[in-house]
Symmetry: D2
Subunit: 339 residues, 4 copies
C-alpha cells in the first residue's frame, strides 16, 4: 500500500498514521519527495487494505499495490483449469465449447425439437432456463421444477449435459440435482449469499459478468465461489451497459484476453446477450474464437416468433448449424476441437 500525504500534513498526523501501521505489525517506510511525502507499507496488503486510509487526517490518497484476488489468480495456479463435464473438457485451450438451447424451457416437445435439429453439430451441452429473471413481474417467470423435469428427460434421451440458471439460495440443492452446470445470471452476480451457496456445491458453475461490473469485481465474485471450495468456475462475458442504443449491451471483447491473463479459469462469451440481436451472433461468435475464448453459450429457438423470452436474439436451428460449420473450419485451422 502506498499512502500519499497532503503537502500540509502535520508531524502529528504522520505519526498517527505510522503508529496505526505499526499496530497492525506492518512496516512503514517514509519517503520525502520534492512536493509531498509518501508512506510505503511493507507487509501483507490484505491487512492494511481493511483500513479506510483516506479518512485519516493528512492523507490525500491510498493506492494498493497488489490485486485483491488470490485463488482465481494465475499467479497462484499458472496452469489453466480444465473442467470435465461428463467427458467434455472445458478450458485448457484444446477445445472450443458451444453450448446451445433456448432462453426458456417452454415444454418437452420444443426442447426435443430444438436438440434434434442441432445435434448434427456434435455439440454436447444444452442450455435452457427453468427459473427466469425477468424485468417485469408480468412476464413469463419460467416453468420452475417442471422445467427441470423436462431437462432430465432430454438428458436421458440424448445423452447430453445441461446448464440452467439458479436464482435463489433456496433452489441451489434442487437445481444441482438436475443440472450439470449451475449458471449464475448477470443480475445475481453480486448476490453474495448465492455465490457462497454454489461455492459449497460440487457442480461446475458458470458466472455471467454483471452489466456494470469491472473485471476486478468479476474475479472477486469468482473468488467467493472458490473460497468455499468449488474450483470449477467458468467466467462468461455477456456485454456491459454503455450509452450505445443499437445493441442491448456492449460486448467487451477485450475482457477475454485480460481475464485469461489474470486467471486460470475458462472464459466464455455469450454472443446472444452480448449484442441482443440475432444478426450479431455469428460475428461475435467468430470474434470469441479469434480472441481464444474457451467457448460460447448461444440462444437457439426453433420458432423465435413464439419464444416466450429473448426471441430477438435467438438463432433458428438452420442458422445455428451453418454458423457452427464455419466456426469448426476456423477452429480446426487453429488446432481446436469444437465440442
Amino acid at each position: 500500500m502506498i499512502i500519499v500525504l497532503k503537502p500540509e500534513a502535520t508531524k502529528k498526523e504522520k505519526k498517527h498514521i505510522i503508529d496505526r501501521i505499526k499496530e497492525l505489525k506492518l512496516t512503514p517506510r517514509v519517503l520525502h519527495g520534492t512536493e509531498r511525502d509518501v508512506i510505503a507499507v511493507i507487509g501483507s496488503e490484505s491487512i492494511i487494505s481493511q483500513l479506510p486510509l483516506e479518512v485519516f487526517p493528512g492523507v490525500e490518497s491510498a493506492m494498493p499495490v497488489l490485486k485483491p484476488y488470490k485463488l482465481v489468480s494465475r499467479k497462484v495456479k499458472p496452469d489453466s483449469t480444465v473442467i470435465d463435464v461428463n467427458g467434455i473438457k472445458i478450458g485448457g485451450g484444446k477445445t472450443f465449447n458451444i453450448i446451445a438451447g433456448p432462453c426458456s424451457i417452454e415444454g418437452l416437445g420444443m426442447m426435443r425439437n430444438i436438440w434434434k435439429s442441432i445435434q448434427q453439430t456434435g455439440i454436447g451441452i444444452m442450455r435452457g432456463g427453468a427459473f427466469k429473471p425477468r424485468t417485469s413481474p408480468y412476464s413469463f417467470q419460467g416453468m420452475g421444477k417442471k422445467g427441470l423435469e423436462i431437462f432430465k428427460k432430454i438428458k436421458k434421451e440424448f445423452k447430453i449435459s445441461v446448464i440452467t440458471e439458479v436464482m435463489d439460495t433456496k433452489d441451489v440443492e434442487l437445481v444441482a440435482k438436475y443440472s450439470d452446470i449451475l449458471q449464475i445470471g448477470a443480475r445475481n452476480i453480486q448476490n453474495f449469499s448465492l455465490l457462497k451457496e454454489v461455492g459449497k456445491c460440487k457442480k461446475p458453475v458458470m458466472l455471467k459478468r454483471g452489466m456494470a461490473m469491472t473485471i476486478k469485481e468479476f474475479l472477486m465474485a469468482a473468488e467467493y465461489v472458490l473460497s468455499q471450495g468449488n474450483f470449477n468456475v467458468i467466467l462468461c462475458e455477456r456485454g456491459i451497459r454503455t450509452f450505445e442504443p443499437l445493441t442491448r449491451f456492449t460486448l467487451d471483447i477485450s475482457a477475454v484476453p485480460i481475464i485469461k491473463k489474470e486467471t486460470h479459469l475458462p472464459v466464455f462469451i455469450d454472443p446472444s446477450h452480448g449484442g441482443g440481436r440475432w444478426d450479431l451472433v455469428e460475428p461475435l461468435s467468430k470474434a470469441a474464437l479469434a480472441v481464444e475464448a474457451d467457448g460460447i453459450i448461444v440462444e437457439v429457438h426453433d420458432n423465435p416468433e413464439n419464444a416466450v423470452s429473448d426471441g430477438e436474439q435467438s438463432l433458428r436451428p438452420y442458422k445455428f448449424n451453418e454458423m457452427v460449420e464455419k466456426l469448426r473450419k476456423t477452429a480446426e485451422f487453429m488446432g481446436k476441437e469444437i465440442c
Copy 2:
C-alpha cells in the same frame, strides 16, 4: 405498439404479421407512408409486447407506446404515497426524512455511542447493516443475527425505528421481525426472488437503484414488490456507474424529479454512496433537498478510521449534526419538517 416495416417487406410478410395480431384479438391498422409502411396495433399493449416482433420477417423495428409499469404509476394513483413508520411520515412533501447510522453494526457500544451523539438532531430512524454485501469474500461480512439483536436493544433504549438490509430470501422473515424498514441493496435489486419475498411481507421496503439500472427498470423492480401486495415502497437513488473515477458512483440527481413525476412512491437520495466521499455528503444532501427528494440516508460513524466498511464516506457525528442544522434551516424555509 407501432410496428415499422422494412421498405422491402412483402405482402405475404405483412399478412403474416396482421394475422398474428388478429389472433391475439387486437386490431391492426396499416398506414402507407411515403417511404415505408407502419402497422399500429390497437388494444392492450401488454399482450402484444410479449411477442418478439423484431424477429418477424419484414419488420424493421417495434416501438411500444405505453409504459410497462402499472401499480407504481402516478397515473394509476395520483396522490403521493405516505408511509407511516411508527409515527414518522415518509413521502407526501411535508417532511424531509434523514436516516442515519453506520454502514455496519459493529457492536452495541458503538451503536449506542453513535445514536447518543446525533440524537440531538431529533431524527427518528437509524440505519446499520447486519448482513453485508462485500465485494471481497475476505472482508467483514456483517454480524448477522447478533447485529439484529443489537438493533433490538437500541430500538428499545432510544425509542427509534431502524432500517437494515436483507440479502437472502431465507432471511426475510428474520429481518422483518427486527427491522421497521427492509432495505434491498443495489446489488440485489434485480434479485427477483428477493423482491417477491419482501413483497409478501407487510413491512415498508427501501429499494436502492442498481448501479447500471435505468429508471424504467428501477420502477419495474418496485412493481415486483407492489404486485405481491406490499405498497409501502421507498425508492432510493444512490449513484450509477460511469467513466468518472473521482467519485465512487455518479449521483443521478435528475432521477428524483423524473421518478416523482412517474410514480406516487417516496424517493430518497443516498449521498454517502452517491459520491463515495465524505466531503460530498453535505453538498449532495443539499441538492437532494433542493430537488424535493423525500429524504436522505446517510452513513455516520463515530470513528471512521476504524470503521469495518465504508469509512471513506462516513460523516463524524459532529459534522453530521452541523449538516442537519443547515438542512433544517433550508427545509423550514421550504415549509418542510425534518424528522
Copy 3:
C-alpha cells in the same frame, strides 16, 4: 511516481529502470516488499510522467502521486477567481449568475422579444448561438456573422453582455469582437487548437465539459487556456453520457463541489442540456444553487414550438421568470445576489 514491479522482475530489469530514472536526474528509492518490490521516484513528476513506464520490462504498473494540472489548481492560487464582465462579477461566492437566451439566434425580433420578456428578472447576460454545432449536416447551422450583428444591436439596445459559441480557430477573432464571453462547446472541448486560440484572446471563456470527459481532463482543457495567458475561464458542467435513456445526458452534480475544491475558477451548471427536458430545468437549477455553483446558463425561447434547435429543453419566458423568483428567494436566504 510509484513504480510497482512484477514479482518475476530480474535484477537486470530493475537496474535498467533505475538507470533511466537517474539519467533524468531523479532519485529512485527501492522498497523491498513481502510480495514484490516498488520503486519510488523522488523529484519532478512532470519529467518522469513523460516515460511510458508500463512498457519497461519488469514493470507491472506505474502510479502518479501528483495531479497533472498547475495553473488551474487551487494549490497554486487559493483565492477564488472573480471575473468581471462589464461590471457583473462571476465567481467568488457572492453572486449566482443566471445567463439566459435561446439556443440559436433566429432573428432580431425574436431576440428582442425574448429579452423584453425576461429583463424584469434583472439579469445581465444573454446567450444565443450564431455558429451552431449540429449532429446533422441537414439541420440549421446558425446565422453566422448575421447573428453576431443581431447580438450587437441587442447589446446596445438593452445594455447587456452576451455569450456565444466559437467553433473554429478561424472565427475566434471575429467572435471576440462581438461577444463578451466566448463559449467552447462540449464537442470542441478537446479541440486543442481552438483552446490555444481562445487562450491567446483576452475575453473570458466558458468551457463546457465534454460528454465523456473526466473531471481531470476537463481541468486539463482549462489548463490549455490558462497556459496561453488567459486566466478568465468559467467551467460549465452540462451532463455526461450514460446508459440512462430518459434524460439526454446525466447531470453530474458532484462535479461542482469537486471542481470547486480543486480549482479557483468559477463553475456553472447548464440545466437545459444537463437533462435535455424543460421540466427538469427548475429542479436542476435549484440543485446548482444548493451545491454552490457560481451560476447557470439556461435556454429560454418565446416560442419553443418553432425553435430551430433545442425546443424540447427551452423554458418559456414566464416559466423562466417564475423560476428566477424562486431561485432569488433561496439565493437571498444564502446571502447571494442573483445577477
Copy 4:
C-alpha cells in the same frame, strides 16, 4: 413520425398539432387506441423532425420512423465503397488493410528505422502524427510541418502511402498536400467545421469514432463529409468510454458488423487505442479480422520506452511482424489479401 398523445390531451391540443402538420404539407393520420391516441405523420420525415414535437401541449412522446442519414446509407448505395490509395484497395471485402507506424513522427531516422523493420510484411500505408492532440498542454504537441516534410521523404524513399491527422481547419490544405489519407481524431469528430473542410477536399478521410459517440452520430459525422462531395470516407472504431478501468477504452467490436450493415463505407478497427495496452493489440486485431472489418491501424514503435506518446500501446517491430504473419494465414484462409 409517430406522435403519442397524453391520455388527457384535449381536442384543442390535438387540432393544434394536426394544423401544424398540415401547414408543413404532410398528412396526419389519427389512431384512437384503447388507452391513448396516436398521430402518424405521412410524408417526408426530415421536414417533421425539425419540429420539437415534445414541446407541444398534449404530446407525450414523438418517435421517428426513419434513419437520419442518407448518403452514407447502404439503402442509397448497396455496393460497398472501394477506395483506391495509390493502387491499394480499401473496402469491398477482398483486402484486409494494415496501416502501421508510430503515434508521433519523432524524426527522419526513427521513421526510416520503423519502416525498414516492418516493410517485409508487404503492407503499403504508414501512419504517424505531425499535429498531436494531447490532453496536457505540457506534453509534446507534434513536429508540425517538419513532421510532414519527414513523411514526404519517407513516401519517396519507400514508395508508400501515408496517413496523418489534421486538427485545425487552417491546416487542411497543408496536410492534404502531404498526406494520402486525412485522419480526423476521436476528439475532433464533432468539430463540424473541420468535417466540412475535409469534405471539400478530394483526399480520402479516416474518421475515428468519438469516445462517447453513438453509431448513429458517427454515421452523421460521415454524412457531413459526404454531403460536401467527398465520398472517400473510412470509419474507424477505436474504443468507447465505459466504467472499466483495466483498458483505456472499451473496443465496441459489435460496431463493425452494425456499421457494415448500415453503410457502404469501409470500416477499420484501431486495436492500439481500443485497449490502450500493447498486449491487447494482437487479440483485438484477430477479432477485427474475424468480424470482417476492412482493416486495422496499429501503433508500432522501434523503441516504445522512449516514445514521446502512446508508448504503452505500441508494438515493437518484431512483435508486429509476427502478428501480421498470423493474421495473413487467417486472412488467406478467409480468401482475403493483406495489404
